[in-house]
């Protein structure tokens, strides 16, 4: 069934200043274009906040290397999107809802073709992800994880560590860094999901494990680390079960 014009998905597109100058911008009404100086400008936390506010699809448009006016803004965007897709998957959204489109600022003339194509893809993925309350919680957790120091410093340094060299003069192989980033993204997401879940109501390890779908021992380990970082504290004990409550993180 083809997407009628009646129910197209709400798409937000962040477009770099140099791609598609004004005249080439015939855009379908469900795609809202927001101009930014460079596609690298898109802070992962902002993209997640866009999803959390109801966007069903986010399209990032930038210049194809080597034509980025800011030298490597597009490469940084690529790395950010790679991490964002991991976070979206963890949050229960289809990673395809986020797309990075790198066009040649000279050759590519027709933006509407790309916009329609992407709307089609998003529409195929079914209704808005926000229908499930649980996904909203995930998105908030993902946003906070993406705003935390840990993920951001790794993302910021990724290029330097994998392209040039680290403090010891070694170049970290791409897959190795990816694996490390994978674990850290998962850990941070789980911790901020725990933090979100225990903000309103103190919860036990078992309860959290059941909600998160991971082993209670893993949840406990995360809680020990969260205690160390001042994110969570024991609230009270019911019977034989300690219940934890989130601490406001500065």
């Amino acid at each position: 069934m083809k997407m009628e014009s009646s129910n197209p998905p709400k798409i937000v597109c962040f477009m770099c200043n140099w791609a598609f100058c004004e005249e080439e911008m015939r855009v379908p009404y469900n795609v809202n274009v927001i101009r930014v100086m460079c596609v690298g400008r898109m802070d992962p936390a902002l993209v997640l906040e866009t999803f959390a506010n109801g966007a069903e699809g986010v399209l990032l448009v930038g210049c194809k290397p080597p034509d980025c006016h800011f030298v490597d803004g597009n490469l940084h965007a690529e790395r950010a999107v790679k991490m964002l897709k991991k976070l979206l998957a963890l949050a229960g959204l289809e990673p395809e809802r986020l797309k990075l489109l790198l066009v040649s600022p000279l050759e590519d003339k027709d933006f509407s073709r790309h916009a329609k194509g992407f709307s089609e893809e998003v529409w195929k993925l079914g209704n808005s992800p926000l229908s499930k309350e649980e996904i909203v919680a995930n998105l908030i957790a993902a946003k906070e994880a993406a705003s935390a120091f840990r993920l951001r410093v790794l993302l910021g340094r990724e290029e330097e560590l994998t392209e040039f060299m680290n403090a010891y003069g070694e170049k970290i192989p791409e897959e190795e860094f990816d694996a490390l980033l994978d674990d850290i993204v998962r850990a941070e997401f789980i911790r901020y999901k725990i933090h979100y879940l225990t903000r309103t109501k103190p919860r036990s390890v078992k309860e959290l494990a059941q909600i998160l779908g991971i082993k209670p021992s893993a949840v406990l380990r995360h809680i020990t680390n969260m205690r160390r970082k001042g994110m969570i504290a024991l609230d009270h004990v019911e019977g034989y079960t300690p219940l934890y409550k989130a601490l406001e993180v500065r």
Partner: protein, 572 residues
């Protein structure tokens, strides 16, 4: 525009700083990137009146200074300027409306060469009634009469000068300074300020025996005669003496007019030749032979006509005050070249006789006129002088630069302001910013329009022009945008010099911003907190996106602003 230019301490990208007329290169290249050719020409015109001319013949100091030289090849700035000017002309000449007169003082410009015309153009834009007096029948000076057609078409010169007329400059030709008009007469006619830009008239003499034989004609007179369509007979074998652009032009013109064999004798070596390298290549392509380290000793004639020229071999000694090594003749190295025509092209000098005595400078060495290099005042109040007449033979762009400075001095003189304010040697800070060249990708020059335009049909020309336009945008993309905001009239309001701002309380000094910033505009200061260099910051926002402590926001395009746009977009 010039007024504004002189005041503030100017932070120009290297290209603009190198250009004697400080043309805003970065602005028009940025506009070309976006395909805005019409606006590009307007930007050029803000700084100088001859986009098409300079696009063709300028020696392009801007390309030598281009930061991209460190990476691969300079951006083809001159070619781009030429293209946009040609496009504008191809699509029908833009008739500029005359500038309303704001002041009453009448100004006289003597000499319609590049210096004079630029001064007139600038003063007209300021609202002065300007009259240009020109000895020749057509305005343009060297541009019109000296540069051969195959380098600078006449209609191009006419077109550009027409634009100057449109904005209200009155040009009177056939009026000779010193004869029809003098300083005194002009003053009497009510001209409050006079600008002497008559350029150089006389070719320099060889000062060798046999110089006045028949068949010896100075290069400038040779080219002027051709420009005036006078009948000139060109010999079979022609020898041109000298190494500058005029020598090359004369040699190639001679070849074109049928000379079998044309040779250039130059007393220094190839590296010291002042002519533009690609001009020399074109000359070689035309079959002109070059003989270096050779200087004429005497011209041998046979019944009044040139038969041969006898030369001495040279070797190079210590550099003279112009920095070029002084040629020293080698004894007993006489040898002869069988030629029937000799064209000396040693450069021009001013014909002092036509100058009013009170202006002539006392010192023996150096240029004849006594002119303040910065304010272009002469010792006679109200009388200014610039261009080749003040500095000796120089390029067109330098003359344009002189014209602009003269306009400012005259404007201040008439308004009674201090001429020297803000004029001490121009405080220009060159900003070359790219942090890591190795970060950048090498991009070959994508645009090298041929100097001469091939002859095409209309359709071919149209399609050829489209192709050129696309190549030009690619080439424009190679510009690294060294300077701060280039006021390139970009329609997007976003690009109005957004800057990053650091919240010192939150910053822990992890230096990720310095790693990420493509321009090296943000670094940790000695206090250990990130500090933004506003001049270098391009407002791309990469640092704000990556700052682990989210301590960096953008003045205009902040996170909150983006989110509000998202919310309105999603009608939340």
């Amino acid at each position: 525009m010039t007024e504004k230019l002189l005041q503030e301490v100017r932070k120009f990208p290297p290209c603009r700083a190198a250009c004697p007329a400080h043309v805003n290169v970065q602005a028009y290249v940025a506009l070309i990137q976006r395909g805005k050719f019409k606006e590009a020409v307007e930007v050029i015109r803000r700084d100088m009146p001859f986009p098409a001319i300079c696009g063709r013949v300028c020696f392009s100091p801007c390309e030598d200074a281009c930061a991209r030289v460190n990476l691969d090849q300079a951006v083809a700035i001159r070619a781009l300027k030429r293209l946009v000017a040609d496009i504008e002309r191809e699509q029908g000449r833009v008739v500029a409306e005359p500038v309303p007169k704001k002041y009453g003082e009448k100004i006289a410009i003597i000499g319609a060469g590049p210096a004079g015309l630029t001064a007139a153009y600038e003063l007209a834009k300021l609202g002065y009634p300007v009259t240009v007096f020109e000895r020749m029948d057509e305005p343009g000076g060297m541009m019109r009469y000296c540069i051969p057609d195959f380098r600078l078409e006449k209609f191009v010169v006419a077109n550009e000068i027409a634009y100057i007329k449109d904005i209200g400059v009155e040009i009177k030709t056939g009026v000779e300074f010193g004869k029809d008009i003098t300083i005194k007469s002009l003053k009497e006619d009510g001209y409050k300020a006079i600008f002497l830009s008559i350029g150089t008239q006389l070719g320099m003499k060889l000062n060798v025996p046999g110089e006045d034989l028949e068949g010896v004609i100075n290069a400038v007179d040779f080219l002027r005669a051709i420009a005036l369509e006078k009948k000139i007979t060109v010999g079979e074998r022609v020898a041109v003496i000298g190494g500058g652009n005029t020598a090359i032009d004369a040699a190639r013109m001679a070849k074109k007019l049928g000379a079998k064999e044309v040779m250039i004798l130059y007393r220094r070596s190839r590296e010291e030749m002042p002519a533009l390298p690609h001009e020399v290549e074109l000359a070689e392509k035309d079959g002109i032979k070059f003989y270096f380290l050779v200087a004429p000793k005497q011209i041998i004639g046979e019944n009044g006509r040139v038969k041969a020229v006898e030369c001495l071999r040279m070797r190079l000694g210590e550099p003279d005050e112009s920095g070029r090594r002084r040629p020293i003749p080698i004894a007993f190295s006489e040898h002869q070249y069988e030629v029937d025509m000799v064209i000396p092209a040693l450069g021009q000098i001013v014909e002092t006789s036509i100058l009013p005595p009170e202006l002539i400078s006392k010192e023996k060495r150096g240029p004849p006129l006594q002119v303040d290099p910065l304010t272009l005042e002469t010792n006679v109040p109200g009388v200014f002088a610039g261009g080749d007449v003040a500095t000796g033979p120089a390029s067109i762009i330098e003359a344009v630069g002189a014209g602009k400075r003269a306009a400012v001095s005259i404007h201040r003189y008439l308004r009674g302001e201090d001429l020297r304010k803000g004029v001490e040697e121009e405080k220009i800070e060159e900003t070359t910013w790219v942090k890591d060249w190795r970060l950048l990708e090498k991009k070959e020059r994508r645009y090298d329009a041929p100097i001469e335009k091939p002859h095409l049909s209309f359709e071919e020309a149209k399609e050829y022009l489209e192709k050129l336009k696309r190549q030009a945008r690619f080439e424009a993309f190679r510009c690294l945008g060294c300077g701060p905001c280039a006021e390139c009239l970009a329609s997007m309001d976003l690009c109005e010099g957004d800057k990053a701002v650091v919240d010192e309380g939150k910053c822990v000094g992890c230096n990720v911003c310095a790693v990420v910033c493509p321009v090296g505009a943000i670094k940790k200061n000695e206090k250990g907190v990130a500090q933004v260099n506003e001049d270098l910051c391009k407002g791309c926002g990469l640092c704000a996106a990556r700052c682990p402590e989210r301590a960096i926001t953008m003045k205009k395009l902040s996170d909150e602003q983006i989110i509000t746009m998202v919310l309105t977009a999603l009608e939340r």
